[in-house]
Symmetry: C2
């Protein structure tokens, strides 16, 4: 199969860039020093490539992701790095011995949900500067005690410094240190072996944790590259030019249902200047020096990889040593099998 | 089943509001005067409700939508209102006699694709002011001749005045008239019975077409309501409060993978003030007069319905005469069975 045979729009992974990203991260954080975050790619086939690179512990954001990873035999050590009020589906997996599952808790209610749902291991999620989930650092010890009183094993703490992923490089290290000191103080009160945190944007300036939670680095997107320049764009949406107008514009067959739009418009690369994105289309201005014809193929770079992947059923993998074209061979197909909830 | 039993995040349809929207549109454009646009809701179960309301002709935006509608026995008259370069899957349906399929064409290449793919009927898509698909009005007659020379029946023209959906009400009628005069001039050159156009935003000021293509009116969203105030929000994302912080914020378990974000943030209604949306979460400021607890349910209004629906597997339908709550009964479940391509 070649890219010319792939119905558009379709996700395409440049395996050369992907492999370079994976090796760069594995060199910095080998084996369990990295807990790859499944939410970025939602594919057990991609996760298997990370196992090949030495990582056997994973982060998930949804119950479905945990279920899918366990069913695929990738359940050595799965952390649901999110708060859940109904742990019953997770408890069934634990009860069946199909995976080791640890769940984040940050309140008496989430502890109760874990205990009632049959979960055995938890991390205390600590707020380290971004207004999202996580208890106040001062409350972490008390929550750990409560969890233990409910029969749960407390493996340690997690805290996500998500507000610092896009900090300018010169101040990032100090800001991460200040944030992680909150986490370490909580850890001192909680105990356990695990201090989990970080992401693609802080992988190289967060020596404070025992494991980095990063996922975007595998595929990257236009929004993230400036904040983590060691990694390259490896994910494209492969599209077809379906209309060319003498007024100077052309139209691609991929739109709002093919791209996560929260970080702005995707990039049509050197094909022209993107004008706007609608439900099923991208309209772009055709450059005089690069005319396009109906039927031409164009690779488009998403602005944000995580919600883009969530809109697609599969990724077509290509070697692409010299760019993507209709003749590029598809070497494998990775189902996006961890979508939805 | 009650809403308390529905795993969050989940799409919920207020059937009372939906039914009122459907009846309002059916009164304005009964039967085949309306060609409901499947792209807005991507569900054959919802489409069946429109058949009940008298509409038997439908618009689709993707090959998958046409396939699904045909397989569901809803193929009386399906228009793929979009340009397609590979019509082979559509041609198979036509060949099997499983549906009547008409495809939009706007170039020699799309005519060739239709003829080679086994399509028998086309509409000439005409550009009427928005830079997207559609031939120049002056070229429509020639394209119709070319299509007929390839053995295709030309049923007429279509043209989407999408740039006028959000025009202020006072000037909208005149702007639509000017746009539709381009379409009618093209129709005079093309022939055929069909002049297809319009949308939810112009359904009440476009008497120039023989059929209106509208879909958003069924479910609506916060972005569209000001431009089509006859219709009400009928679609919500049902969420759970998973974390409450003493700093004054709370977190819902729905984020960028549950909402189309191109038209901005969703609305958490009276639950509080939305602060930001991340991959799996909404963080909102808790109002002093409306404290929330972990485990509370919150209904959130999407800003743009079409890409929101495309992120979900199903819609839970409720009667909801007096608002949504955990005790609200779910009366049916509509699979979102027309996603992807």
């Amino acid at each position: 199969m070649k890219l010319a045979d792939v119905q558009t729009p379709a996700l395409v992974v440049d395996h050369g860039a992907f492999e370079q990203n994976v090796q760069t991260m594995a060199a910095a954080h080998p084996g369990p020093r990295l807990r790859p975050h499944v939410k970025a790619f939602k594919s057990t086939a991609l996760a298997r490539e990370l196992v090949e690179a030495g990582h056997t512990t994973f982060c998930c954001a949804t119950v479905r992701e945990v279920e899918g990873m366990a069913a695929a035999g990738l359940g050595t050590d799965l952390l649901l790095a999110n708060e859940v009020l109904d742990c019953s589906r997770l408890g069934e997996i634990v009860h069946a011995g199909a995976a080791r599952i640890t769940v984040a808790i940050d309140s008496p209610e989430t502890i109760d949900a874990a205990a009632r749902g049959g979960i055995r291991e938890v991390l205390v999620d600590v707020s380290v500067g971004m207004p999202r989930c996580g208890c106040e650092p001062d409350d972490a010890g008390e929550l750990a005690d409560l969890a233990r009183s409910r029969g749960l094993e407390v493996r340690g703490v997690m805290g996500y410094e998500g507000h610092l992923m896009r900090e300018p490089a010169e101040g990032k290290g100090a800001a991460v240190e200040a944030s992680m000191k909150l986490l370490l103080a909580a850890h001192a009160a909680v105990g356990g072996d695990v201090v989990s945190g970080g992401g693609t944007g802080t992988y190289d300036c967060n020596p404070w944790v025992t494991e980095i939670q990063a996922g975007s680095y595998t595929l990257m997107d236009t929004e993230y590259v400036p904040h983590a320049p060691a990694f390259r764009n490896a994910l494209y949406v492969w599209t077809t030019v379906i209309s060319v107008n003498p007024g100077g514009w052309a139209v691609l067959d991929a739109g709002l249902k093919a791209f996560g739009m929260d970080h702005g418009n995707p990039k049509v690369l050197d094909a022209g200047d993107l004008w706007f994105v609608s439900d099923e289309h991208i309209t772009f201005g055709v450059r005089e020096d690069r005319p396009v014809r109906v039927g031409d193929k164009v690779a488009v770079l998403p602005a944000h990889v995580d919600p883009t992947v969530a809109l697609h059923e599969r990724m077509f993998v290509v070697a692409a040593p010299e760019g993507l074209g209709p003749a590029t061979a598809v070497t494998s197909v990775w189902p996006v099998d961890l979508r939805n909830w």
